[in-house]
C-alpha cells in the first residue's frame, strides 16, 4: 500500500480527480486508522467531494471542505482546520484539488507545509477530454499546475473514460498517449483507473496498475 502521508490529486477539470480521490481515501481507510479527505476545490460549484460527506464519514473518514461548498453562494473560503492535518502526523490525507492551474492555485497557500514533508502529487489524465486530448496540451497543463502549486507531479493516473460510454479500447489508446507523456517528462504511471468491468479487460502486463473505481457522484435521475 501507498505509504506517503500526503496525497494530492490534480489535473484538468472533469478529468475524474474527485471520484479517484474519494475511492483513494476509502482504500486508505482499510490500512490506516486516521484518514482525512480535503475538498480543496475552489473552482467547481457542483458535483464535488462534499456531496458524499455522509458516505465518507460513515466509513470513518474525516471530511474537510470549504464551509460554503454546496450552498447557494460562491465563496470558496478554505477552512483553517486544514492546517491541523499537517500537524497531526497520524493522519493520512487526500487532497482533492480543483481543476486546472486555477484550481491548483489553492495548493500554493500550503506550500511551506508541503516543502517540509514528503508528498505525492498524482496528475489525473483523461485523454477523452476535449482540451487534454494529446501529449502536447496535457503536458502544457501539467506544467501550469506545477507552476501555480509550486509542487512537482510525482505520478500519473490514466483515467481515460467517457462516463457511461467508456470502453477498454479508449482506455488503452489513452494509455499509449500517457506512456508517451511519462517517457517525455520522466514521471511514472502509477494507476490505471476505471470501473471494474473495464479494468478486468486490461492486458496482463498492465493489470498490476489497475485501481478499480466505485462511482459515488450521482445525477438525480440515476
Amino acid at each position: 500500500m501507498n505509504n506517503t502521508r500526503l496525497n494530492i490529486f490534480v489535473g484538468h477539470f472533469g478529468s475524474g480527480k474527485t471520484e479517484i480521490a474519494i475511492n483513494f481515501a476509502i482504500h486508505l481507510k482499510k490500512y490506516y486508522n486516521k484518514v482525512s479527505i480535503v475538498d480543496l476545490d475552489i473552482v467547481n460549484p457542483y458535483f464535488r467531494t462534499k456531496d458524499v460527506t455522509g458516505i465518507l464519514e460513515h466509513k470513518g473518514i474525516k471530511v474537510i471542505a470549504p464551509m460554503f461548498a454546496n450552498t447557494n453562494v460562491d465563496i470558496p473560503a478554505l477552512p483553517a482546520e486544514i492546517i491541523s492535518l499537517f500537524q497531526d502526523k497520524e493522519y493520512r490525507v487526500v487532497f482533492d484539488v480543483g481543476g486546472d492551474d486555477i484550481g491548483a492555485t489553492a495548493l500554493g497557500r500550503y506550500y511551506k507545509y508541503f516543502a517540509n514533508e514528503k508528498y505525492q502529487m498524482f496528475f489525473v489524465a483523461n485523454m477523452k477530454r476535449a482540451l487534454t486530448n494529446n501529449a502536447g496540451n496535457t503536458i502544457e497543463l501539467l506544467r501550469e499546475i506545477e507552476k501555480k502549486s509550486r509542487l512537482k507531479v510525482s505520478d500519473l493516473i490514466n483515467n481515460t473514460n467517457l462516463s457511461y460510454s467508456s470502453t477498454i479500447e479508449d482506455l488503452l489508446k489513452g494509455q499509449k498517449v500517457i506512456e508517451k507523456i511519462s517517457r517525455e517528462i520522466k514521471v511514472p504511471i502509477r494507476y490505471i483507473t476505471g470501473k471494474h468491468e473495464i479494468l478486468s479487460q486490461l492486458p496482463h502486463d498492465l493489470k498490476e496498475k489497475a485501481f478499480p473505481l466505485r462511482l459515488y457522484l450521482k445525477m438525480p435521475w440515476e
Partner: protein, 355 residues
Amino acid sequence: MSDKVLMKGNEAIAEAAIQAGCRYFFGYPITPQNEIPEYMSKRMPKVGGVYLQAESEVAAINMVYGAAGAGARVMTSSSSPGISLKQEGISYIVGSDLPCVIVNIVRGGPGLGGIQPAQSDYFQAVKGGAHGDYHLVVLAPSSVQEAVDLMTDAFDIADMYRVPVMLLGDGMLGQMMEPVEFKEQKGRDLPSKEAWATTGTKGKRRKNVVNSLYIDPKELEDLNIKRFERYKQIEANELRYEMINCDDADIVLVAYGTTARVANSAMRSARSEGLKVGLIRPITLWPFPVEAFQKAVQTTKAFLAVEMSMGQMVEDVRMAINGAKPVHFYGRTGGMVPTPSAIIEELKKILGGER
C-alpha cells in the same frame, strides 16, 4: 477510438457554437456558466474569432447588438441575474430584427438567489423579459449531446428569421459531464445578410441602417405586424418536442431540460410498479408544443407538470389543455432538484384521488 469526447455541458455549448460558425463571443462571468466564457477565451483566438470579456452584462449584450448588426454569428451567455441585466439590449436587438444566440444557464432566484440549478427563468425567457411585443425562440436541451445538436439550429433559426434565439439550460446541464459527439452539421440554406447588415457600402450601394426607433407610429406598427408574421412561420416550422409512453397513459408528466430526465426516471419506475405514466418533453419552450398536448388530451386522464420553479411552464400546459383535463403541479425551487421518488409519490396521490 470513438469520436466522442467527455465534456461539461458549458464547454460543449461553447464548442458547438464555434463549430456552428460563431466567431464573436461577448460575456461577463457568473456561476454556474463560467466554463462557457472560459472555453471561449481559449478556443476563439485559435479559430480566428473574437472573445471579449465586457465590463458588464449590459456592455456584453450591446456588443452582441453591434456584431449582429454587422452580420456576424455572435453569442453571449450568462446566468439568471446576468440575463436580467441584458434585457434592454435583447429588446433593442429584437426591435432591429437582428439574429444572435443567448445562452442562459439558470440558477436560483429571485435577486442574487443562489448558484444551484433552477428553471425559474421560464417566464422571463418565454413571455418576454424585456419591453415591447416580441418572442424569443427558446430551446431547452435535456442532455449535453442535445445542447450540442441544438446549437447549429439556434444560429440557423436566428439567421433564418432574424430573431434572437435563447438556449435555456439549468445549472445542472451546464455543470454535468457527458460523452458527446460533434456530428457534421449540414446547416440550412440561409438568406443573405447583404440587404441589412452594416458591412460597409464601399461606395457601391445605399447604406444599411440598424435601428429600433421609429418616428411614425404606423411604420412601427407595420414592422411589429411583419415580425409577428415571421413568428407564425416559426410556430409552423420549428416546433420540437418528445412524447414517451403517452398512448396508454393514465397520467402524463410534463417536464423540460434536466428535470425531464428526473421525470423520465420516475416514469420508468412507476411503470415497473404498474402505473401507466407517460411523458411530454417540450424542447422548444417558445413556440410551445401545443399539438403534443392536443394529442395526449384525447386519451390521458390528467397531467402533472414538474419544474424547478414555483410553477411557470405549467401555465402554458393549462392553456394547451384548455380545461379539458386536470393539470397538477410539483416543483422545487431555490436550487433544490426534484427526485424521482417525490414525483412517484405525487403520481400516486393524483391517481389515488382519480379512482
